[in-house]
């Protein structure tokens, strides 16, 4: 009998999640007896995700792996799923601990926080002002990373973080916010956008403002979407973990938990196929891998993959 694993994403159509879906299918093929249900709401709302999860509960899927639009709002519904015997994990964007068995972080938050500011600092030998362009006001992961970034900002004394704005993961709003940043801070040297939508919009805004070379855009993005901006010089470098690996790992974990082959408890280790294994911390959270940095030297190699 096949194990049905539902991969619930923030919204359908986003490149990052499409790549994760690829990874999930890869894991399914490797495991053999797995059927992947790839689903999600049309726009990034918690209510939409709840409707989707309700229908998954009704179908009695074996596992749900969700990248949440809202840390807390999904909890009651996911609890119900667990009550009905469904394995629930979150990945990428987490759910509060009561609402899932474990959470798979793409990477550890402190690592990401450090990486994004380091990327900015690396290209600012004399230092200067940098600003942050975040995603929606409600998405958890971005805000955790920015928090972590601010914690370690002292390690980069030359770099001064002057402000944070929100682009809501909308291309036009992010673009406008990036423009606003450049006007508000004429001496701005870099924009850090830890969101794949924001980083592209910011790079475009910098290009349109004719400030390539003056303002460096960095953060987290997809190689395929950033390739052009790396070549134009709007972005010297950026980082991301591999979303394919992330979808792959989430599927592996969900499978092992659903089969009862592993237990989600602090300190447990769970095998994740070709990626090795993860170890759960006190919050039942695990980190997959370090973020990987892309620049002109390696972008072409990856831009065709994801």
């Amino acid at each position: 009998e096949t194990t049905r694993i539902a991969l619930v994403v923030k919204a359908l159509g986003i490149g990052f999640f499409e790549a994760a879906h690829k990874g999930a299918e890869e894991a399914a093929a490797e495991l053999g007896d797995v059927e992947i249900i790839y689903t999600g709401p049309t726009d990034t709302t918690a209510e939409g995700q709840i409707e989707v999860i309700n229908s998954l509960i009704a179908q009695r899927v074996d596992a749900i792996a969700v990248s949440a639009n809202d840390t807390d709002a999904l909890v009651p519904t996911l609890k119900k799923a667990m009550d009905r015997g469904i394995t629930v994990i979150s990945w990428d964007s987490g759910v509060a601990p009561e609402g899932r068995m474990m959470h798979l972080d793409p990477s550890s938050a402190p690592l990401i926080g450090n990486t994004i500011i380091k990327l900015a600092a690396d290209h600012l030998p004399e230092g200067g002002e940098v600003a942050v362009l975040s995603a929606t006001t409600t998405s958890t992961n971005q805000n955790t990373w920015i928090e972590e970034m601010n914690k370690v900002a002292g390690n980069y004394p030359n770099v001064k973080v002057v402000g944070t704005v929100y682009g809501d993961d909308l291309a036009d709003k992010s673009y406008r916010e990036a423009q606003g940043l450049m006007q508000t801070y004429p001496n701005l040297k870099a924009i850090i956008a830890p969101t794949s939508v924001g980083i592209v919009a910011a790079a475009q805004a910098v290009t349109d403002a004719g400030k390539i070379g003056q303002v460096n855009v960095t953060g987290l993005g997809l190689p395929s979407e950033m390739a052009g901006h790396v070549k134009s010089g709007a972005s010297k470098s950026f980082a991301i973990w591999n979303p394919i690996d992330l979808g792959y790992s989430a599927t592996m974990i969900a499978y092992h938990l659903a089969k009862g082959e592993a237990k989600a408890e602090p300190g447990a280790t769970i095998p994740i196929g070709r990626m090795g294994e993860v170890t759960l911390d006190n919050n039942n959270t695990a980190a997959m891998a370090d973020p990987f940095t892309y620049d002109a030297s390696n972008i072409d190699q990856f831009s065709s993959i994801f």
């Binding site: 986003i14 036009d172 916010e177 940043l181 006007q183 979407e225 390739a227």
Partner: protein, 323 residues
């Protein structure tokens, strides 16, 4: 006429006051280059507001403009990916937009379905169609040709093409509304549909024409939007239809139809555009933006209602003399 004029004057004064307030904290905002940038940024809103205005004049409303824009934008991006030359793409998006507008128009005209219902329905259908076209995939900057992206940005005489297109749109629609029979028919149909029939004007056909105009402008804006932000996906310009209606309302276009000017619609759009651009610059938390534009809308409605209130017939000689 004098009341009408004063309404636009007051709106212009409000915009000037807004600019002055921002400038007092941040002089760079009113530098000509930046103002040009704000105008360019507001161009999509202006273009859509022009079309929406025509529709509202005829006592209808078009809630599907943003979805139409997104669909045409995606079509433009797909055509570009397929190697279609830019001039053809431009023609095609305008035609596609007009076609989508015509669907709305036909449902309103031939079946007499209220426009709010029609466009509420087509709004979701058009967006859904994008999903069906692409499976939900995004089209990103690197998948677009340079020429495709460069056209709206190309600067001519200090302004990018995108802004010039808005200027041309404003001039064209202004001419259409004031100096052509069709334009006057928009006003007639909205002002008194019953009388329009007596004047030999087909109410349905005129509303149809307004929807086609609104659709064509949305189609054109769809290309501009996608090329400017260099990305196309299902949800672009989500919820933008309400901004467009708000721009018209602030600009004094009567929601009951039949009255309003191009100058008003443009200034309504600029007012919203300036607020949107000024907030991040003036260092006001972006979380205030929504409440501020809501307040602006309410203030504008209240003001317009007060100025539109009929002064009352003056029967009394004495009252007349006293005034």
């Amino acid at each position: 006429m004098s009341i009408l004029k004063s309404r636009e004057t007051i709106l212009a004064l409000a915009i000037a006051a807004l600019l002055a307030a921002v400038a007092s904290r941040f002089p760079g905002f009113v530098a000509p280059a930046n103002l040009a940038g704000v105008f360019t940024d507001t161009s999509p809103l202006i273009l859509l507001a022009l079309g929406q205005m025509a529709v509202i004049l005829t006592k209808c409303i078009d809630l599907s403009v943003a979805a139409n824009l997104a669909l045409c934008g995606m079509a433009a991006a797909l055509m570009n990916g397929a190697g279609v030359p830019l001039p053809l793409i431009l023609l095609a998006v305008v035609a596609l937009g007009a076609g989508l507008g015509a669907v709305n128009g036909l449902l309103v005209w031939k079946l007499g379905i209220p426009s709010i219902v029609v466009t509420l329905g087509t709004m979701t259908i058009y967006r859904g169609a994008i999903f069906l076209m692409t499976g939900g995939a995004w089209i990103n900057a690197h998948q677009m040709s340079e020429g495709f992206k460069a056209f709206p940005r190309a600067v001519i005489g200090g302004l990018p093409v995108m802004a010039w297109i808005a200027v041309a749109g404003v001039a064209g629609v202004a001419l259409l509304l004031t100096r052509t029979p069709l334009g006057r028919a928009f006003y007639a149909v909205g002002g008194n549909p019953h009388a329009a029939v007596y004047a030999g004007i087909s109410v349905g056909r005129t509303q149809f024409a307004a929807f086609v105009l609104s659709g064509a402008l949305a189609g054109l804006t769809g290309y501009l939007w996608v090329a400017r932000y260099a990305v196309a996906y299902v949800d672009i310009a989500g919820g933008f239809e309400l901004d467009v209606v708000a721009a018209c309302v602030i600009g004094g276009i009567a929601i009951a139809g039949g009255s309003g000017t191009v100058a008003g619609a443009v200034m309504g759009a600029l007012f919203l555009g300036i607020i949107k651009n000024a907030l991040p610059v003036a260092g006001i938390s972006p979380f205030w933006q929504m409440a501020i534009s809501g307040t602006a809308i309410l203030a504008a409605i209240a003001f317009n209602a007060a100025s539109r209130r009929e002064p009352g017939r003056i029967i009394l000689r004495q009252a007349e003399a006293a005034e």
